[in-house]
Subunit: 438 residues, 2 copies
């Protein structure tokens, strides 16, 4: 038979054991944290009916949705009726609408799961990648926003990612800012897009963009002066006093700041916008100090669930930049041998010894160790088995040929040091414990 | 906006927190067992290039593959180039071919992951469901077959599913059986299909089917006599002496029986076929005694990986009937309240108390408990918060109004008994520990 290309599909990855183990460790730390914060796990299907997803992510997003062909007689039509989930938020909104009264209010859930986007694959950009979301549905209280911040930053701490700071703003404060600087409502979206780039392009760059977008020079000058002041946050705060919605936004920011004071390293970030999508209240991002990169973000989105039912439901949440975080952890762990094979390999010296090896493995396992009997084929050479043990990161090889079986002894070999002990069979567990401790 | 149907797509399920928690408990028990047996986790993408999957599952299987529409300009063509994985075995075979020398030999992996089939949805039949596979690639040794049996049955034990027995056969013994009873080679597939139904339709039913399929009456009579003998296995064994391949098969069966003797409750099952797909050597199924249902199965398939490369690679493995097992566990757990909310809820009595509640929650969490501050919106009524606590399965509510804050005390209320204690703040952790123990 002609052989088939054995690569995974473009933009997807096979995760070999060392990588799965690394990711599972991270996922477990995150799950434990969110559990400890009273969030509960939710799981939704990989695919949704097409109309659940389309129209939620903007035109550009819609084009990146993987669509599934209709089946059976309809396949020939070339039509799609299902689609792979594009994020975890829209399925959550559907669940909130579907199970409303069956769920506690507020409904606090987390989900760590893959999503799929037909993006052009590139370095660090995949068509299948994991998202990690934590959300509170059905509460308009700032306590919910604050609890999100605490849970998200605790999860980062649990992952060993210290050295981050949180930037906080409010979509209401942003609307106030546009109002206070005299930017016309029609220019709001353009202005916020430019302002959101402040960190990347600086105050001059923002001013240039605003000019290009036709914003009034007086407004740009005032903004520029405030953003380059000694304390930009204080300068913008003063300006927001002129706008009702701006004051509301500031109050929202200050409420959350007060709630997490001394717990989370958070500061008011007057031009942070977090895109312009569905956020309606506080928005935040967590920036890793050394990398100057966003590793988590979120905010309040009180309008999204209303797409699936007649009434709006308030909601707030956050998302860890999981793939970026996993990359950071991988770098931090560089040099650590990944493959976590079993602690013990029971070698097989001859055919007659195979049943004995299985029995020994069961005995060692009963002592709480991870262990396998060598189960490779071909000739039973010890050198080959020890090489395999080394490849798997095994710490101790048990060797027991005909002679040891006859004498009721067993040999334990520590692979790192080469130390080898032949002991009575009843001392097996104790010997393994000693060698593992050494 | 017109509201959208909020149900999950046909044949798929939303897994609410109690259900996710139940499944995660089972998955964790299985993962631990396979880890303890030296198997390592592998993860492959949800979708594969279409040609990786087609032609592997027979005509009927091919029709159940979910196909993904080409993207961008090609979308209009109505063609598919990707497909959702249909099982975990074909992706494993692809991985074995792709990473061959980078993997240890033998390569022992497990995978617990969803697969998708466009089956007609029905009771207990889903279009998205989990499979759990454990396989050893690159070994022709019976030790690998035996180690699979031990790992699979240990996993069932770890899940609390005692009371099962293992039926073991060999595809070679089956070929020998056909030969020994004088069934023409052309009728082999038909005969095995009929024989595989022995448990369901009895010896008479099998004889009827064989007659319908045009098998010689003398062969049917001989088979019928042996299968209804006092010891059918012994009768078939005697008959297999006449066939070389039959003897080979019996030797294979006996070798595995000897290797797991006293460890796994296993018996030779002379007509067990496990379908007719890709198995080449030993095949087994694990039958739950009470249910008389298969809860795990597997066997050796030395030909599959050769589809992705020029040479064959021996392989053997097993699969837990995960969805069926989860259903059994659900029944066993019926009556157990599912939702595992946090142990402690810190109520919020007034706006001023919210920051205090967050700080108390952090303190309780530092003591190792799961806890959340009440983060619902609306009026801060205690009754509403206690109802929410009850709904989440919370065990203790912390209550701390202005009076307690002024007095540096705190009130802990055990929700099951209603017992309530007001203690100095420094006694919080000790009081919680006592109430949780009660």
């Amino acid at each position: 038979m002609a052989s088939i290309d054995a690569n995974p599909a473009s933009g997807t990855r096979d995760l070999l054991p060392a990588e799965v183990a690394r990711r599972e460790r991270a996922f477990t730390a995150i799950r434990r944290t969110f559990d400890a914060h009273g969030f509960a796990p939710l799981d939704t299907p990989a695919f949704e009916r097409l109309e659940v997803l389309t129209g939620k992510y903007g035109e550009e997003g819609d084009q990146l949705i993987f669509k599934i062909l209709r089946r059976g007689d309809h396949e020939a039509s070339g039509d799609a009726d299902l689609a792979l989930r594009y994020d975890l938020t829209v399925p959550l909104a559907r669940v909130a609408a579907r199970y409303g009264s069956q769920l506690p209010t507020p409904f606090k859930r987390y989900q760590i799961a893959p999503v799929w986007r037909a993006d052009r694959p590139g370095k660090g950009r995949y068509r299948e990648f994991f998202q990690c979301d934590v959300d509170t549905i059905g509460s308009d209280s700032p306590t919910a926003d604050a609890a999100t911040l605490v849970a998200v930053t605790d999860a980062l701490d649990a992952l060993g990612l210290s050295g981050f700071r949180v930037q906080l703003n409010s979509r209401k404060a942003l609307r106030g800012l546009v109002e206070a600087y005299g930017i016309p409502a029609a220019g709001e979206s353009d202005a916020l897009t430019a302002l959101d780039k402040l960190d990347k392009i600086g105050a001059d760059g923002v001013a240039r963009e605003l000019t290009e977008r036709g914003i009034d020079a007086a407004a740009i000058d005032a903004l520029g002066a405030d953003l380059t002041a000694d304390d930009p946050a204080a300068a913008v705060r003063a300006r927001l006093e002129r706008s009702t919605v701006g004051q509301e936004g500031l109050a929202e920011v200050d409420r959350v700041l007060a709630l997490v004071d001394g717990v989370v390293p958070v500061a008011y970030a007057p031009v942070l916008a977090r895109g312009l999508s569905y956020y309606t209240g506080p928005v935040f991002e967590v920036v890793h100090d050394q990398l100057d990169a966003t590793i988590a973000a979120g905010g309040r989105y009180d309008g999204l669930i209303g797409m699936f039912q007649s009434s709006d439901v308030p909601a707030t949440g956050g998302s860890l930049g999981l793939e970026r975080i996993l990359l950071l952890l991988e770098e931090a762990e560089a040099g650590v041998t990944g493959e976590a094979g079993p602690q013990v390999l029971v070698t097989v010296m001859d055919e007659e010894g195979a049943a004995d090896a299985l029995a020994l493995a069961a005995r060692v396992r009963a002592a709480g160790l991870t262990v396998e009997p060598y189960s490779g084929g071909g000739r039973l050479k010890l050198a080959k088995q020890l090489k395999y043990a080394d490849r798997r990161g095994v710490r101790i090889a048990i060797i027991r040929g005909a002679e040891e079986r006859a004498a009721a002894t067993v040999t334990c070999k520590a692979l790192a040091t080469g130390e080898q002990r032949t002991v009575p069979l009843e001392h097996l567990e104790a010997t393994l414990a000693e060698l593992l401790e050494a």
